[in-house]
């Protein structure tokens, strides 16, 4: 049986398995929040005490049922009647000051049968409320060398109440040749408090990629927080030098339990499962590397 043929047969198995993985990943996030998605018609029981039954009364700017802006919306500048600020330089308030923050979401050591590793995942930003520079970096070091690192520098612009559009560059390094990409995507908070990131990438030689990540924060207590996290990477075409196949390449699902000693500082422990799929899995097998890995992780989350 040729390698190709074996690979095809396995692909069938993988397809089945992949479906299971996706189902499991969705369950992981879905189960923790199933309770939150109660039927909308149940709202009249929601503990209001001034309620009167009547029409829909509140709108949120970026919900699907958002009404089109009232045709006779007000012009917020109409009240100025042409007056501007006076001779004294007007106050500069917080909305016109830039500030920044660094959030190290994960800085951890992973323990697995296949060997231990160190990983980081951070985001930093600098700028104002609706326009800012965003740095995203994620990477893993094992066996004494940087295995894989993704670093993105983006311009983030608020486009809706809970969503920022992002545009910039991504650079991949680690084992294999470096790759650079043009990056564009969205990041924000979906209904029911899911944190979502979806970024598309265009690289050289017709390469393309898609990265989707979702996480959720479940408060066990005020300071003990369980965070499921799922991340998927897809590629438009195969990149053998980096051992990446087209289609779904990697899927990672983690569950971390942290204790916030302070809001800014929380040690955590958890478990992370990761899998390689399609041709990416084949590349791994050829290299004698595992296609499935479960790691116990321990680390710290901090920001300032």
């Amino acid at each position: 049986m040729s390698a190709v043929r074996r690979s095809r047969m396995e692909n069938v198995e993988i397809m089945k398995y992949r479906t299971k993985i996706f189902a499991a990943a969705l369950l992981l996030i879905g189960a923790t929040s199933a309770w939150s998605q109660g039927p909308m018609q149940g709202m009249e029981h929601s503990g209001m005490d001034h309620g009167r039954p009547t029409a829909a009364t509140m709108s949120q700017p970026d919900t699907p049922k958002q009404p089109a802006p009232d045709p006779d919306v007000r012009d917020p500048h109409a009240y100025s009647d042409g007056y501007d600020f006076g001779a004294i330089p007007r106050p500069r308030m917080g909305d016109e000051h830039s500030r920044g923050a660094l959030l190290v979401e994960r800085l951890e050591r992973g323990f697995a049968d296949e060997g231990n590793s160190t990983a980081y995942d951070l985001q930093a930003w600098y700028g104002r409320d609706y326009d800012r520079a965003v740095l995203k970096a994620e990477g893993e070091r094992a066996a004494g060398k940087l295995q894989d690192a993704r670093t993105e520098l983006l311009w983030g612009r608020a486009v809706a109440s809970f969503w920022d559009a992002q545009l910039g560059l991504r650079h991949d390094s680690g084992v294999g040749p470096d790759r650079s990409w043009l990056a564009f995507g969205i990041q924000g908070l979906a209904p029911y408090w899911f944190e979502l990131e979806a970024t598309g990438y265009l690289g050289q030689e017709g390469r393309s990629a898609l990265r989707v990540a979702a996480s959720y924060e479940l408060l066990v207590t005020q300071k003990l927080i369980l965070q499921p996290h799922v991340e998927a990477n897809l590629y438009g075409k195969s990149d053998p030098e980096r051992e990446l196949g087209s289609g779904l390449s990697t899927l990672t699902a983690g569950l971390r339990l942290r204790y916030e000693l302070k809001r800014e500082f929380a040690p955590y422990a958890g478990v992370e499962w990761s899998g390689k799929f399609g041709d990416t899995a084949d590349f791994a097998r050829v290299a004698g590397a595992p296609t499935r890995e479960t790691r116990v992780v321990a680390g710290v989350r901090f920001w300032f």
Binding site: W35, S36, E44, D49, Y83, R90, L189, L219
Partner: protein
């Protein structure tokens, strides 16, 4: 950063007690400042600001060491004390106030609620350029009113770090309010943190200071009590909307120590009285971010003045005092001690004082009320009942439906909700006070004695919406922060109606400088004259303004961090 299930109160654990209660001897470390006003020792539990009664005043803004929690900090002070000296003026006098800035940054003093020429109003960038380091600015104006007011810095976060105090103006021809004792009770909130850091934290994680968030444990309790579907329904709307029903205050006792006349709860400011006396308490909320719910167990409070203006007396058990508001009450204590209990709206802590016939007496301190989660009416206003039930056209409270016109700039990232059918009633005491078994003051109870300033109706309307995005911690008017705004023009001499619609889930105390805000009842009658109007979540209020004060004025939310975030406008009267 996302929180899901309503939960119960987390009481402070033991190591936090001293922090919440503060030091018994906490306060400005007088004697260490080079510019000391002789003041009594804080340890006596009778800390109070010195009182200066004159027509000429010398006020010096400087840094002073303080210690409210066991951790020494530097505060910004006036004449070395927190609160600053109480200023006692007389209606009709011309007062001169020489304010010297000994800080290394620009400073200012704004006379809150006082009618004066706009150049004397003390807002850097609007009234003047501020007081540069080392400089002295001379304020001089004629006092045209009487009552209880206050003053504070209008620069950066200096108000949070200590620059505030009381102004008491005696009427020119005798005070119609009789009292044998007269105390200022000035409530405030102190943090050991740098306020700039507090602001930065809120920008990074807006629920940073909220430790009463919905948790899984609470959800499970609800499931066992009410069943799965009921527990889910209770949360569905909030979670779908990405709103937090426990978002009652942006900053809590996690960092705040609440003060009465500069004294911590442990320090226990005490006002002495003789049994049988009528005692006038001038409550002033000088908190940067804290609404206080004030009561004196065992005593009825008769409210006689609001924002410096005498009102028809109304007797209540409890008053929610918004930031920057003042209420004067008369109490008639018997021969025993009473606790003045001012719990924060989010029920994480309290300011406390004592009224006693003799020094050293104290009464029991009540336990904090359980915090109540926000209700659907706080999100949706009048039409909260069954927003999706398809029934239409029902009015609320007889007030009639009102037309709401959102600004074009409210449809974007600067807002997280808009209220299309706001509540117009004034008789809601607000979240946490509804049906609590006590008689709680509402704006519907307040009636200014006498007629409005101008009996004629408004010539036109200005509608402004109070807006924000809690997740981003941005605050604005009409969806525009100050930096993107243009001034609001009032025509000189006109009478106009202002319509505020609160498109957020927080209560905003809106302060118009230089001119009165004459609040109207839902059916358009004159209700009460105020300098600061608290607008509840999803509420619409209207008030009339006589634009008789030429010049440029500030108009803003008096929650300090909301103001700094840009919930601010300049008004041009021309």
């Amino acid at each position: 950063m996302k929180r899901y299930f309503p939960s119960h109160v987390i009481l402070p654990d033991l190591p936090r007690r001293r922090f919440v209660q503060g030091l018994a001897a906490g306060g400005a470390l007088l004697g260490m400042s080079p510019l000391v006003v002789p003041a009594r020792a804080r340890a006596a539990g009778a800390s109070s600001a010195p009182v200066l009664a004159a027509t000429e005043f010398d006020l010096v803004i400087a840094q002073s060491p303080v210690n409210f929690t066991g951790r020494p900090r530097m505060a910004t002070t006036v004449n070395g004390s927190i609160p600053a000296p109480t200023l006692r003026w007389r209606e009709g006098d011309t007062v001169t106030l020489r304010v010297t800035n000994r800080l290394s940054e620009t400073a200012s003093i704004h006379w809150h609620g006082i009618l004066l020429p706009f150049q004397m109003d003390g807002v850097p960038g609007i009234s003047y350029t501020g007081i540069a380091p080392g400089e002295t600015f001379v304020y001089r104006f004629k006092v045209q009113q009487s009552g209880t007011y206050w003053y504070h810095s209008h620069s950066g976060f200096q108000e949070q770090t200590g620059i505030f105090s009381a102004i008491v103006v005696d009427p020119a021809d005798g005070d119609p309010i009789r009292a044998q004792r007269d105390y200022v009770v000035q409530l405030s909130d102190w943090t050991d943190e740098d306020p700039n850091r507090v602001f930065a934290k809120l920008k990074t994680q807006s629920d940073y200071y909220n430790f009463d968030q919905p948790t899984a444990g609470q959800f499970l309790r609800d499931v066992s009590r009410e069943g799965l579907s009921a527990a889910r329904e209770k949360r569905a709307m909030w979670n779908q909307m990405r709103m937090n029903p426990t978002d009652l205050a942006d900053i809590s006792a996690y960092t705040y120590t609440y003060l009465t006349n500069g004294a911590t709860p442990a320090g226990n400011w005490t006002g002495i009285f003789r049994p049988g006396e009528r005692v006038r308490l001038r409550f002033i909320n000088s908190g940067a971010m804290t609404f206080f719910d004030v009561r004196i167990p065992g005593l009825k409070m008769t409210v006689v003045q609001a924002d410096g203006q005498n009102v028809e007396p109304v007797t209540v058990d409890e008053i929610r005092i918004g930031v920057a508001e003042t209420y004067d009450v008369i109490v008639e204590p018997k021969d025993e001690a009473y606790t003045i209990f001012a719990q924060s709206m989010d029920r994480t802590g309290y300011a406390r004082g004592t009224l006693a016939p003799r020094a050293g007496l104290a009464a029991a301190v009540p336990v904090l009320d359980k915090p109540q989660p926000l209700s659907m009416s706080d999100m949706m206003g009048a039409m909260s009942g069954g927003a999706m039930s398809g029934m239409t056209g029902m009015n609320h409270g007889g007030a009639g439906e009102v037309r709401v016109r959102h600004a074009r700039t409210e449809y974007g990232p600067s807002t997280d909700m808009r209220v299309d059918t706001p509540r117009t009633s004034l008789d809601d005491p607000g979240i946490g006070l509804r049906n609590n078994g006590r008689r709680v003051l509402t704006y519907a109870d307040l009636h200014t004695i006498g007629a409005p300033l101008d009996p004629s109706g408004p010539e036109r309307e200005i509608e402004l919406h109070l807006t924000g995005n809690m997740e981003r911690y941005t605050w604005s008017l009409d969806g525009l922060e100050f930096g993107k705004s243009t001034p609001v023009h009032f025509r000189h001499g006109e009478r106009l109606r202002v319509v505020f619609v609160n498109d957020t889930m927080m209560t905003h105390p809106m302060h118009l400088h230089g001119m009165w805000s004459e609040l109207e009842s839902p059916d358009g009658r004159f209700q009460v004259r105020k300098h600061t109007v608290s607008v509840q979540p999803a509420q619409r209020v209207t008030f009339l303004v006589t634009a008789d004060a030429l010049g440029r004025w500030a108009w803003h939310c008096h929650l300090l961090y909301h103001m700094d975030a840009g919930m601010f406008r300049e008004v041009v009267v021309a």
